[in-house]
């Protein structure tokens, strides 16, 4: 029996090791403060990257872990953005409660939508999410009295964080704020991924047919993760609204839904940090390439995307982690 316990401990330790923070992770988070000192003129870009990364993590939770393919997640991002914007326009500019309310409302919409989402798969799922995305875009377009239509919401006034940190022109507060929210979002996602629930999501992704055969109510799991992902996407949208003081229709656009999937594929799905790496590459590439040639920069993104998918199907981070393993 002692042998068995010892052997079981080995499996147990193996599972434990999988959730430990690696040096790369710690190094990465230390590096995120570099822009404050080294690239102060790029802080606005840095906060956009942090927001895109949070949005990409929310998609990774459903796409990378649970295998729900979506081309309409901007719906939830946009709902979060408009909710935050409208709350502030209604006279309540406190950022943190605005963030939570926006996330909560997006989560609620996600929960309602999840009843449809879990009933379809494959191509039908892509079409349903795409349809929902288009629907919400046009709805926001038509409801001009509420959303401002194509002009968007202007003059979103956000109070200082904790009554102290004012949103400045340089973007110090914006980047610090977005970075901390991203960090919290990542920690919570990490916790979720390494829970029994996270394991069951990977089970769904790996073999849906087996799940009911081990007694799993997998549809309940899928609804739960879709709701959580929706809330996180909503928080990302709210961050954009609060840090830019505007909400435009393109927060709901198909382009945004597609871009976030591209970021995730570039970085690598099912590893959380892939979402962040993908967001960094995508946003920096856009920033640099758009300077050179504002019209055709998607050409290069298309090229990069094809290269990554063909050469390293598990994304850039997947390739890097394989390299690191070989070196060890």
């Amino acid at each position: 029996m002692t042998d068995a316990t010892a052997a079981s401990s080995e499996s147990f330790r193996w599972l434990q090791r999988r959730r430990r923070f690696s040096v790369y992770e710690i190094a990465f988070w230390l590096a995120t403060v570099v822009p404050f000192f080294v690239f102060p003129t790029y802080l606005t870009l840095a906060s956009q990257i942090a927001i895109a990364a949070l949005f990409a993590i929310s998609v990774d939770l459903i796409l990378g872990y649970a295998g729900i393919i979506t081309l309409g997640h901007a719906m939830l991002f946009g709902i979060g953005a408009y909710t935050a914007g409208l709350i502030s326009k209604a006279g309540w500019g406190e950022p943190l409660t605005g963030l939570l309310l926006a996330g909560g409302f997006a989560g609620l919409v996600g929960f309602v939508v999840s009843f449809i989402i879990v009933r379809v798969r494959h191509l039908a799922l892509i079409m349903i999410t795409l349809g929902l995305g288009l629907l919400s875009y046009e709805l926001a377009n038509a409801m001009e009295w509420l959303t401002g239509g194509t002009d968007g919401l202007q003059g979103v006034d956000i109070w200082p964080i904790f009554g102290t940190f004012k949103f400045d022109l340089w973007g110090y507060t914006a980047y610090g704020y977005a970075l901390i929210v991203l960090f919290i979002g990542l920690l919570l996602s990490r916790k979720l991924v390494h829970s029994a629930f996270g394991l069951s999501l990977r089970g769904i992704r790996e073999n849906l047919k087996r799940m009911p055969a081990i007694g799993s109510n997998y549809r309940g799991h899928l609804q739960k993760i879709y709701t959580i992902s929706a809330a996180m996407a909503g928080v990302a949208g709210a961050l954009l609204a609060q840090t830019t003081s505007t909400v435009s229709l393109d927060t709901l656009s198909f382009q945004r839904s597609a871009d976030v999937v591209v970021m995730l594929i570039l970085g690598g799905t099912g590893r959380l940090y892939g979402a962040i790496v993908g967001a960094i590459i995508f946003m920096v590439a856009r920033d640099q390439l758009a300077d050179m040639n504002p019209q055709y920069w998607y050409f290069w993104i298309g090229l990069l995307l094809m290269f990554v998918v063909l050469v390293t199907p598990d994304g850039i981070l997947g390739a890097l982690s394989r390299l690191a393993r070989i070196r060890e």
Binding site: F12, L15, R19, A196, G215, K224
Partner: protein, 254 residues
């Protein structure tokens, strides 16, 4: 009617049609507690469909299914598993990127209804992990517990099929060709594992190899064209003229 406590699984006049084809026809079976019964029949006899009906993966056109005296005909598949009715698959239906310890722990967590908890770390479920490891160990999979399933030899993947089922703590275990594709010398070992399962698990297995069937089954159900031809102890089945005709005819045509 009082249910017979010695019978753990009972089907009553099950029917399943695909168009005009009756795939399962008037199947009434009883599986006693602790049984080691075999379900045999030529290809296309409806064996897998029958297992699909009993486990709820497919819905029958008519008939009833009782588990431990309770009518489960309308109960969905996952809930049947939680009531103790579990199956394995003829074609490996595993989680390729997960390790055996993860796969079996997942099944234990689902059974314990903690698989939806996202606020507690997986390693906080120490008992589930230990139980999963014990199951793996009992099937000789302890050595490979932390290797990815897709890298395991085929024979070990067949064992993992059974390990996943055992983690649900079944009362009734339906094994759909557990040794499918396994070389002869290994399939004997695999059936020794099945024979050694605890008494309180009642087993019905589909198998094509008659040597295995006659070595391990205490009773045999012969299914032909969706209907039960005969249900009897091995000796009776072996000497039954109709069974011989079915199998000899099959051999002649094959």
């Amino acid at each position: 009617m009082m249910p017979d406590p010695a019978i753990v699984l009972r089907t009553e006049a099950l029917y399943k049609r695909f168009g005009s084809l009756e795939v399962v026809r008037d199947v009434s079976l009883e599986l006693p507690r602790g049984a080691r019964h075999a379900l045999i029949g030529p290809n296309g006899a409806g064996k897998t469909t029958l297992v699909n009906l009993i486990t709820g993966q497919e819905k029958g056109d008519s008939g009833r299914i009782h588990l431990d005296g309770a009518d489960i005909t309308e109960v969905p598949q996952a809930a049947r598993v939680r009531h103790g009715l579990t199956r394995t698959f003829q074609i490996n239906t595993l989680f390729p990127a997960l390790t055996p310890i993860e796969s079996v722990t997942l099944a234990v967590c689902e059974r314990e209804r903690v698989a939806g908890q996202f606020w507690r770390s997986l390693v906080a479920h120490r008992r589930a992990i230990d139980e999963a490891f014990e199951i793996l160990q009992s099937l000789g999979l302890a050595e490979v517990a932390t290797r990815r399933t897709r890298t395991l030899p085929y024979g070990q993947q067949r064992l993992l099929e059974i390990a996943l089922a055992l983690a649900t703590r079944p009362k009734v275990l339906l094994l759909d060709e557990p040794a499918a594709g396994v070389p002869k010398n290994e399939s004997m070992l695999l059936f020794k594992v099945i024979e050694a399962l605890p008494e309180d698990i009642s087993v019905l297995f589909i198998e094509h190899d008659m040597d295995l069937v006659f070595s391990f089954a205490s009773r045999i159900v012969v299914l032909v064209s969706g209907g039960v031809l005969i249900e009897a102890p091995p000796d009776v089945v072996r000497n039954d003229q109709r069974v011989r005709e079915v199998y000899l005819g099959q051999a002649r045509h094959g």
